[in-house]
């Protein structure tokens, strides 16, 4: 167990002895004292440039930023580390944490997803580079999680068009967006939900439709019902969907007999 007193740390921090700083920085790093290790390593990083110790020091410095939660900086330095020391035994680890740093920068799904896309790319690159990595499973989990974010984003936008359809008088936007969603995310987790909401929007469009387009829209809505029923026979929405379907069917019957 390591024991470095506060005064020792302060003394070394203020001293000119780079070797001592290097040693303490690596001891502190091994002990998980990220903040202190970071401060020391930052001081001497420049001095070891081009020297053999630089490899370890760069790694320590970058990983400290990572553990301290400063992911922008960490990913930047870790990326640089793997660039300069591709042969390092820590290269794989650094590459993984660099990618994971991008993952942490990804915001909630309902905001701009630039960082999410970037993180997926970085993780994918890692997976391609190190197909046998021990981090592979985790990397794949992270990618899945990020993919789901993009999926959720598109889904929620399409669903909002359904929600505000009564105000905008536009359910086509929702149907169109769900169709785009299903095209763009073929293996989507929310696929079943999308089928239902697409049908729901089509139902509302048909019921509220002007007469001359009504028949076509009723049929289209029923088609979307069939798609839901066929692909997701156990869908939790089916009960609700059946009620709407009945209504559509009736509407269609009266409409065709009327004309």
């Amino acid at each position: 167990i390591l024991f470095i007193s506060c005064s020792d740390f302060q003394k070394t921090l203020k001293s000119e002895d780079t070797a001592a700083k290097f040693e303490m920085a690596s001891e502190l790093f091994d002990a998980g004292k990220w903040k202190k290790s970071f401060r020391l390593s930052e001081q001497i990083l420049q001095k070891y440039r081009g020297k053999p110790q630089a490899e370890k020091l760069t790694y320590i410095h970058a990983m400290c930023s990572y553990h301290l939660g400063d992911y922008y900086i960490a990913s930047y330095h870790l990326d640089k580390f793997t660039d300069i020391y591709p042969q390092s035994e820590k290269a794989e680890e650094a590459a993984f944490y660099a990618a994971k740093g991008y993952y942490y920068n990804s915001p909630v799904y309902s905001k701009e997803q630039k960082e999410t896309v970037e993180a997926i790319e970085k993780l994918q690159l890692f997976v391609n580079e190190y197909p046998n990595s021990k981090y592979l499973a985790e990397a794949n989990t992270l990618v899945k999680e990020l993919d789901f974010k993009l999926e959720k984003k598109a889904f929620e936008i399409a669903k909002q068009y359904n929600l505000i359809g009564g105000y905008t008088g536009d359910y086509v936007a929702s149907i169109k967006s769900f169709n785009n969603f299903l095209l763009e995310f073929p293996g989507a987790t929310l696929r079943g939900d999308a089928f239902y909401y697409r049908f729901n929007s089509a139902y509302k469009l048909a019921i509220l439709s002007v007469d001359y387009k009504k028949e076509e829209r009723l049929k289209e809505a029923l088609d979307y019902y069939q798609a839901l029923n066929k692909s997701y026979p156990n869908s939790v929405y089916l009960e609700e969907a059946n009620i709407l379907k009945e209504e559509l069917q009736q509407e269609l019957n009266t409409f065709t007999t009327k004309s």
């Binding site: 915001p107 309902s110 701009e112 630039k114 909002q160 936007a173 169109k176 967006s177």
Partner: protein, 837 residues
Amino acid sequence: GETYLIKEIKVTGNTNFSEQTIIAYSKLRKDEEIQVGGEKIANAVKTLWKSNLFSSIDIYVINIDGSTADLEINLSDLPELKDLTIEGIRKGKKDEVIDENKLKTGQKVTENLIATTKNYLTNKYRKKGFLNTKVKISTSQVIDSVEKERVNMRIDIDKGQKVKIKAINIEGNEKITDKKLRKAMKNTKQKSLSPLRLLKRSKYIEDDFRADLISLVDYYKENGYRDARVISDSITYLDKRNINLDIKVEEGEKYTFGKITFVGNTVYTDQQLSNLLQIKEGDTYNGVELRERIADETNPDANDITNAYQNFGYMFSTINPVEVSAEGNVIDMEIRISEGKPAYFNNVTVVGNDVTNDHVVYREIRTRPGMLYRKADIIRTIRELGQLGYFDAQQITPNVKNPNPVDGTLDVEYSVVEQGSSQIQVQGGYGGGGFIGTLGLSFNNFSIRDLFKKDAYKPVPRGDGQSLALRLQASQFFQTYSFSFSEPWFGGKKPFQMSTSISHSRQFLYNSSTGSADRDKRFNITGLTFGLSTRLSEPDDYFLLSQALSYQHYDLQNYNTGLFTFGDGTSNNLSYTIGLSRNNLYTDPIYPTGGSNFSVSAKFSFPYSLVNGVDYDALADERDEQEETINEYQANPSTNPAVISAYDDAVARRSEIDQERFKWLEFYKIKFKADWYQSLTKKLVLRPSVEFGFLGAYNNSRGVIPFERFFVGGDGLGNFSLDGREVVQLRGYPNQSLSDADGGSIYNKFSLELRYPITLGAQAKIYALSFLEAGSSVNNFKDFDPFKLQRSAGFGLRIFMPAFGLLGIDFGHAFDDAPYGATVKNWETHFIIGQQF
């Protein structure tokens, strides 16, 4: 040429650079094969030239010995500039010349430098009208102990005299008068005695003159003279200061439009298109007009043919006017239209919303997937996103992506840049007899559902478009606390705004014996408001209908002022407000450049007097009696105990009556306000506005209430009072000086403001303004005269910074006296804080 192997390279000539440097730079190497006249030597010379360090570079092949040879690079350094003297211009201008031509000490002096400097100076002064400018640049070698080529430079500038145009003579024009042609030349004018043209001087600037010759020809073209041209132009020097310009034109024939046929149109009929074109057969030929009617580049909202198609889905349409015949000076036109498929939006996306959640942005977008493409919808979306205040209005851009003429689809991506929408106001100042401290927080893009999420505090939870405001203000005489919250899309289905606010204020009277606040004499007001408002779709969707229910409780304790005859008592105000407003201001909410904003509202209480069975007529009569007793005593004080006691009784009874009258406030209040914004030029914006307010009573015996009144005059900043009062800005007069001390029950106001933007960047928006205002306030409809107004004029400045809100200063000059006796200064200075109107 011959090929040799290089044995040695040496450097000769007059240079300060080391041999090694020059050789390395030339990229020539020992033991390398070179060809005489070959590429390598040529490249070496080129590279050395490019360095801009040498005045002459020669490479020789010497000491040829069989297949080997030596190279000699002979070069001399360019001289460096040592001292510079400039004669003929003011000292202040010299630095500008030095900066723009990089004439610093140490600069290498090349022929090019001398030539460009000379041209720069000659042009510079010619552009200012000094046609006879002569510039002479000479250099002289510096001989001193420094072993470097150095020169001193001397620039002599002889501007000569400013040249004026005495006359512009135009020859060859028969159809169009000299006067009209001279007018068409916008920046080249002859000397004139007309006072109207004092600002445009008659100096001669060649570039402007060239441009004006084109304008002149354009003027002909606009009037049907399609072949018109300038045959010659020349300058006659009358003397050193005056020239004449002689222009010879050839007018050619006048052309008219012949048949105009539309080809390829299926969406619009020929008749509809020619209505848009507004050009008929037989009209004077005007190419400029024709172009504008087809596509007016200067106005995105123009009613032209291109927009007719662009606003009807035909994104891929193209329109080309073609002359098909020009027989007998009559030009037949064919407007060839390729309509293409109507385009529909496929993907609609938003990027850049790092803070604001998708649902807040997407619900405002008027171009939704599956909708027909309409350019006007994109323009309106940009305007409306700008008005939210969450994004920098100047930076919202629509990017059309993946336009696919085959499928008839396109994507649009709105790129936004978040801007700070929170404001913090911490203020301390002296006013109202002591120190006033204010703490105001307002968050305009708040997210209440993230209130308990730790991660969301950056520094406050944001992104759901809600607004939350907290305000605390205190001095020794008053304290106010208020809190308000609003959600613009309550329920998420439609723009149905829910807002609520709670406030509490305490006021204390001044104690003249201690000189500070008397805490035993206080007036507390507690209020609660709940409001709903919704956007309407009829008559158009700029309309907003709002309703509010509010309750206020007034609690007085020992608070006797001129305002209240009941010093101890309470009053309640339960009222309902309904308002209709229409706002289509665009684009920037801080600096609108167009649109109008009008609102009309009615606030009223329940008509208690109709149902509560109190005989207010009798009360009013009784109150008059008490008043009489009181007035009698005050006019003629007596020591008779019976009279004193009667007086005391009367005072007490009067407060009792007033307490009865105002226990539950009974009133109605009607307000109207409208303002317009109109761009006069590219930058100037004119804002006329008019407003009116009326406070009335259902039961005249019960009377007009002492609260909810109008206070006209001054900066218009509603201070701490929460008694429903309306503080109306009228600059040039002291605050509230145009109303009775208790406030007026009627007011009207007109104002005219002219605004000029200084900067409209995201960090700070600054504009200057000047204004004319007139308004008045009275207590009685009998006294109301809409034309008897107190007038003022003035000017000011506004600065808006996202973190601080709006700050401003106005200087107003009053033209009339204040009606209630306040002293009116010549100039009144107003500080405007946080007010947005």
